[in-house]
Every structure is written in C-alpha cells, then in structure tokens.
C-alpha cells in the first residue's frame, strides 16, 4: 500500500471514496436480515451445481435489453438523481419529444440550433419551475437549479444529474459567450441539451449570490476574482490572515480541522467551541458569503497542508 500514500495523488482516491453510496460498515446486520436469509434459502434449496436451472428459468422475466442498457448508463454514480428517478421514471420516458423549436418565458429562452437545444437564462433568480416549464414545452425533462456561487464559480455547472438517459444524451453549460461577466449586456448563463434527450437531466448551475446568501459553490478565496484575490493564506498564522482580511473589510469565521491519521485529507472536529488564537495556522480560506471568509485552522503547525496535500 505504500504507493497509495504518496501525498500528491492521495486525494483523488479520497474523492472516489466520497462517491460511495454506502460504506460496508453501514450494512452491518444486513446479513441476518430477512432479505439475506430468504436469498440464502433459495440458493441452497438446489443441490450445488444445479442452481443454474433456477436462474435460467427466471431469465424470461428479463426486461428488454435496450431498456436495461439505458438504465445502467443512467449515471452509475450519480446518486443524487436516484430519488427523483424513482418517482418520475417511466411516465416521462413515454412522453416523447416535443416538436417546438423555440420557447421563451420571463426566465428563460430555449432554441433548437442544429443538434442541440440552447437555453439562455434571462433571470437567474426566477422560480425554478419556470425553467422546467420551458424545457417541458420543448419535450425535455430537464430540471435546473441555480445555486448561489462565489464570483468565479458563477456559470459553472457544479453538478449534473441523469436518470433514464443513454450515453447519447448530453448536457453542458456555462457562460455565453464563454468567460463573459454576468450582468454585462449580452452575457448569459446558458445550458445546452442534446436533441432528442431522453430521460431526466438536472443542472445545478452557479449563479451570483444575493446579499447575505451563503455560497453553495465556491473557489479558493485567494483566486483571482475572489475576496482574497492574490493572497495566499495557506500555512500562515491566523493573526496574519485575519489582518489581511480585515484590511479588505471582510468578516472572518473559523473551522477547526484535524488531519486524518494517515496525513491525507482532513476532517472537521466536532467541538468547534475552542477559541482560535492569533498563532494558530490557516490551511485554507473559503468564501462563505459576500464579505465573509472562512479559515480552516489547526492549533499546531503541520508538516504538510492537509487541505491541499502540499
């Protein structure tokens, strides 16, 4: 396992870990549950070597191939879409594609251009149902949630959801034109949906935050365009970083973290009541809301940054 603890890459495995729908520990007790016992009983009913007969007999009940394939591609790991899919499922698959080539309401414009629908969001603060209505009018089952994002995440699709889709069904999104500044004329949040999109798609798109609204997607605070632009807080003392933040008129909040025992990644400690001192260390600075930055801190100095792994 030595190769796995190599710091520079340790984190993408941690990312994979976060995608797990359940951990084995959460399944404790399942083996003695009714389902497990019923299955065991069915299996050992047969003499070893004969179990295959039972299985084949049941094979006729298999769903048609294309349907199965579609379901399997529907985002092997996009857990978030599951709940929705269960409710919306087959009904929407039957509904078929609309024939309209454009639609507009107060919140959004949608137009079919070549092989894709292009949707421009005219009002990023509109009721989400207005977006859905517009997509529906085009025969598309697309949900769109605009979530408050720190300035440089505005226009980012921070998350997609797919259900009942195939690989041919594509979603993308961003700012149109690329890299423009929202609020300037001719700059829109925009998403594209492939023509003939089947199943359900969901966008979570970063929009500007309203005053007092917490960001749900953020970049590093030191990034160009963010509140601590050009300032690298990582590894500095709380005293220094807080002084810089105050100089910029920012409010500072803290989160006390501790590195994982293997040195890769970190967790938030449960008890956050300790008074953070000027001599504590900052390992990351994150935008919380307009005018507020959160510092991820530890009391002791650490040999490497648990947040960045550097």
């Amino acid at each position: 396992m030595n190769e796995l603890s190599e710091p520079a890459r340790a984190s993408e495995l941690a990312r994979v870990g976060e995608l797990a729908r359940v951990k084995d520990e959460q399944l404790a007790g399942q083996a003695s549950g009714a389902g497990a016992r019923a299955l065991l009983a069915t299996i050992v009913e047969e003499k070893p070597g004969l179990a295959i007969a039972t299985v084949t007999a049941a094979a006729g009940r298999r769903a048609p191939r294309s349907r199965r394939a579609r379901r399997l591609f529907a985002g092997l790991v996009t857990t978030a879409a599951l709940a929705t899919a269960a409710v919306m499922g087959p009904v929407l698959l039957e509904r078929g594609a609309g024939t309209a080539t454009s639609y507009a309401n107060a919140a959004i414009d949608i137009e079919l251009r070549g092989d894709e629908y292009i949707a421009r969001i005219k009002d990023p603060f509109a009721d989400h149902s207005l977006y859905a209505k517009a997509f529906q009018a085009m025969g598309l089952d697309i949900g769109m949630e605009l979530i408050p994002a720190s300035p440089t995440r505005v226009g980012d699709v921070v998350r997609y959801g797919f259900a009942g889709t195939t690989e041919a069904d594509k979603l993308s999104g961003g700012l149109e034109p690329d890299g423009c500044a929202l609020g300037h004329e001719g700059c829109f949040l925009a998403v594209t949906v492939s023509k003939g999109f089947k199943g359900r798609g969901t966008f979570y798109l970063g929009r500007p935050a309203k005053p007092g609204e917490k960001y749900q997607a953020q970049a590093k605070a030191g990034k160009k365009g963010e509140m601590l632009e050009g300032y690298d807080a990582d590894g500095r003392t709380v005293g220094k970083v807080a002084a810089e933040a105050r100089r910029r008129g920012l409010r500072v909040v803290f989160r006390i973290i501790e590195p994982n025992p293997d040195g890769n990644g970190f967790g938030t400690i449960r008890d956050q009541s300790a008074k953070v001192g000027e001599r504590w260390y900052v390992w990351a600075a994150e935008p919380v809301q307009v005018g507020t930055v959160r510092l991820l801190v530890t009391e002791k100095h650490l040999p490497k940054n648990p947040v960045t792994g550097e």
Partner: protein, 177 residues
C-alpha cells in the same frame, strides 16, 4: 457431504454477504440491479462451492465473481432473478437512504463516470473496498506489478479528468460524521 458443503457455504455467506451487497450497491444505479447482482453472485458461488477458497480469500474470490456478473449486466446479458420480496425490500430501503451529496460531488461523479470501465473499477476497489495491491491482483487475476502500473495510470487519468472538470483536488473538506 452435501451438509458439509452447505455449512461451509453458509459460513462464507454470513461473512461476505455485507461486503458483496456493498460492492453491488455502490456500482448499480437501481435496487433491482443490485439485488440481481447479489443473488447471481452467491448462486454462482454455490454452484462452485467446491472451489470456494478459505475464509480470508472468499471475499476476494466473490468480488471477482461479482465483477463478472456486473459486466454481464452492463452488456445486457444479465439473468433476471425471481427474487424474494424480502430481499427487494431490504435493498430498496438502502437506496432510499442514499444521502444527497455535496454540490461539488456531482461533478466529481460525472468525471468518474466518464472514466474507462477498467479504470473506474480499479479505483473503486481501492477506495470503496479498501483493497491493497496483493488483493487487487487476486480479484483481477493479474500480477501485482500489473496492478501497480494500471492503478498508477488510472489515478493519473482520473486526476486529469478532475482537473479538466475544474475540480481542485483535495479541496473538499472531508467532514467528520
């Protein structure tokens, strides 16, 4: 003799049901597919009960079977099990409790989903099943050296995909639960 086999199988079943269930749950996007995969995996194991390795290795052996079962499912060649209602109910419950991920998680999931099947499976076996190189070599039936090289490449490709999706690696706080 048959009683002997049965006892051995039941012991292994009791020990491995949860990890195999976990393996299927983490890879199947519907409870039906997960239930099918678990049922099929253990049915095959029962069929091959004479080849069942001793305790510690049974789990790895079953991962290998489950992997093939899921590959067949993906190719649309899965057998549909006439499962018990109890099993369906238990597994459906587990899906119902799936937590909503953080906002950024979906983008990571997307990048992960777009990886080649082999890369994804390799990374999953490490991150989800917690296997080391020797264990991976057993499940994938290849040399440890091959595992090391393939894992290195898979991690590199995933890092690149994450970077391409604008996700800065190691930025997401791992909250303690």
């Amino acid at each position: 003799m048959d009683d002997d086999r049965r006892r051995r199988f039941e012991a292994v079943y009791a020990q491995t049901y949860e990890p195999i269930l976990g393996y299927a749950l983490r890879r199947c996007d519907s409870p039906e597919d997960a239930a099918d995969a678990v049922a099929e995996t253990f049915a095959i194991a029962w069929r091959r009960v004479d080849a069942l390795p001793p305790h510690a290795e049974a789990r790895l052996w079953l991962y290998g079977i489950a992997r093939n079962v899921l590959a067949n499912q993906r190719r649309g060649q899965a057998r549909r099990w006439s499962r018990s209602v109890e099993l369906d109910a238990d597994i459906a419950d587990l899906y119902a409790h799936s937590p909503e991920g953080s906002v950024e998680l979906g983008a990571i999931a997307q990048a992960f989903k777009e990886l080649h099947d082999d890369d994804r499976e390799l990374l999953s076996l490490v991150a989800w099943e917690g296997l080391d190189h020797a264990q991976l070599a057993k499940v994938l039936d290849c040399s440890r050296n091959a595992v090391r090289i393939r894992l290195h490449r898979a991690r590199k490709r995933f890092s690149k995909a994450l970077a391409g999706a604008g996700i800065s690696v190691n930025r997401l706080p791992v909250e303690s639960r």
